[in-house]
C-alpha cells in the first residue's frame, strides 16, 4: 500500500460517516407507516439477540457461563449496566482460572 496516511484516513472516515448518516437520511424521505414502525421497534431486540448469539457460537464455556450470568443478574439486580459489567468480570475470572 503506497497511499499516504491522510488519504487512508479520509477514505475510512467517509465509509464510517456514510454508515452513520444514510439510514437516518433514507428514513427521512420514506413515508411513515405503522408497519415500518413495528419493524423498527423489533429491530433493536433482534440486533442484540444476534450479537449475543454470535458471541455464544464463537465462544466457549467461559463465554456461555458469563452471558448466562448476565441474563440472570439483569433480572435479579434490575440493572442491565451492572449485570453487563459483572459479566465481563465473570469471564475474566473464568479465563484466569483456565475455564
Amino acid at each position: 500500500m503506497t497511499d499516504s496516511f491522510p488519504i487512508l484516513l479520509l477514505v475510512m472516515a467517509a465509509a464510517a460517516l456514510i454508515c452513520r448518516m444514510l439510514g437516518f437520511m433514507l428514513m427521512r424521505v420514506m413515508p411513515a407507516s405503522p408497519r415500518i414502525e413495528a419493524a423498527l421497534r423489533a429491530t433493536p431486540l433482534s440486533v442484540m439477540a444476534g450479537i449475543t448469539a454470535l458471541a455464544l457460537a464463537n465462544g466457549g464455556l467461559a463465554e456461555a457461563l458469563a452471558l448466562g450470568a448476565v441474563v440472570v443478574l439483569t433480572v435479579l439486580l434490575g440493572s442491565d449496566v451492572a449485570a453487563a459489567l459483572l459479566g465481563v468480570a465473570v469471564v475474566a475470572v473464568l479465563r484466569w482460572v483456565g475455564v
Binding site: 475510512m12 456514510i18 439510514g23 423489533a42 429491530t43 444476534g50 450479537i51 441474563v71
Partner: protein, 232 residues
C-alpha cells in the same frame, strides 16, 4: 411539526447513563491502541483513526487489512462499509424520534452514535425519553473514553496485559445480552429475539460475521412488519 425537546437536562441524563459505557469503551480503546501500536501506528495515527472511524470492529479490520500490505483503498472502504452496515439500521430506527429536531442537532448526534449508546437510547425511547439530547449525552463519554483508551493503549503497548485476559472482548455481547433480557417484557418480544439470534447464526455461516448483525436486524424487522396487524 413542533420541534422536540433538545436540552442540557436531557444531555446530562444521557451523560449519567453513558458514563459506565465510557469506562468500558475506554477499556476497549486500550485494546485497539495495543493492536494499532503492534501494527506500527504511533499514538497520533492510532488516535486519528479512532476519531475518524469511531468503531472498534471496523478499525480492527482496517488495521489488519493494512498490515497485509496488499490492500486497496476500495477494499478498505468496502470493509468498513460492510462491518458498519448495522449503522444504517441504527440510524433508520432512530429517525422517527431523532428526526423531530433540526438537521444539525440530529446529524451532530449521529456522529456520536455507537453500538452501546444506540441500545441505551432505543431502550430510553421505549421507556418514554422525550429529550433528543439524551443521545449525544450517552455518546460523549463513549467517544472521549474511546480516544483516551486508544492513546494510552498505543502509548503503553509494552506494559499492558492482553485485552482478552481482562474480558474486554466480551463487553459488547455482555451489554447486548443484558439489554435483551431487560427489554424482553412480554411473550411477543421473544419473536424478534429468536429471529435475530437465528438469523445471525445462519448469516454468519453463509456470508461472514460482517453481515450477520445487520442481517439479524433486517430479519427481525421484516418478521415484525409481515406479522403486524393494526394497533401496535
Amino acid at each position: 411539526m413542533t420541534a422536540a425537546r433538545f436540552t442540557f437536562d436531557g444531555f446530562r441524563r444521557g451523560l449519567r447513563d453513558g458514563a459506565p459505557l465510557g469506562l468500558s469503551i475506554f477499556a476497549y480503546g486500550l485494546g485497539f491502541g495495543l493492536v494499532a501500536a503492534q501494527a506500527g501506528f504511533g499514538v497520533a495515527k492510532a488516535v486519528a483513526t479512532s476519531a475518524a472511524i469511531y468503531s472498534g470492529s471496523a478499525q480492527l479490520a482496517a488495521v489488519s487489512l493494512l498490515q497485509t500490505g496488499g490492500a486497496t483503498l476500495t477494499a478498505l472502504f468496502a470493509t468498513i462499509l460492510v462491518i458498519n452496515a448495522r449503522y444504517f439500521l441504527f440510524g433508520a430506527a432512530l429517525q422517527p424520534w431523532l428526526g423531530q429536531v433540526s438537521a444539525p442537532k440530529a446529524y451532530g448526534s449521529l456522529l456520536l452514535l455507537g453500538d452501546a449508546n444506540w441500545m441505551f437510547t432505543m431502550r430510553a425511547i421505549a421507556a418514554g425519553e422525550e429529550d433528543r439530547a439524551y443521545l449525544p449525552g450517552t455518546g460523549a463519554p463513549m467517544f472521549a473514553g474511546w480516544l483516551l483508551g486508544t492513546a494510552i493503549g498505543a502509548g503503553a503497548v509494552s506494559i499492558l496485559p492482553s485485552p482478552e485476559a481482562l474480558g474486554f472482548d466480551l463487553m459488547l455481547p455482555a451489554f447486548a445480552a443484558a439489554m435483551t433480557a431487560a427489554m424482553t417484557r412480554v411473550r411477543a418480544d421473544l419473536v424478534p429475539v429468536a429471529v435475530g439470534a437465528g438469523a445471525a447464526l445462519i448469516i454468519a455461516r453463509i456470508a461472514g460475521p460482517g453481515w450477520a448483525v445487520i442481517g439479524a436486524g433486517l430479519a427481525g424487522g421484516a418478521v415484525a412488519a409481515l406479522t403486524y396487524r393494526g394497533r401496535g
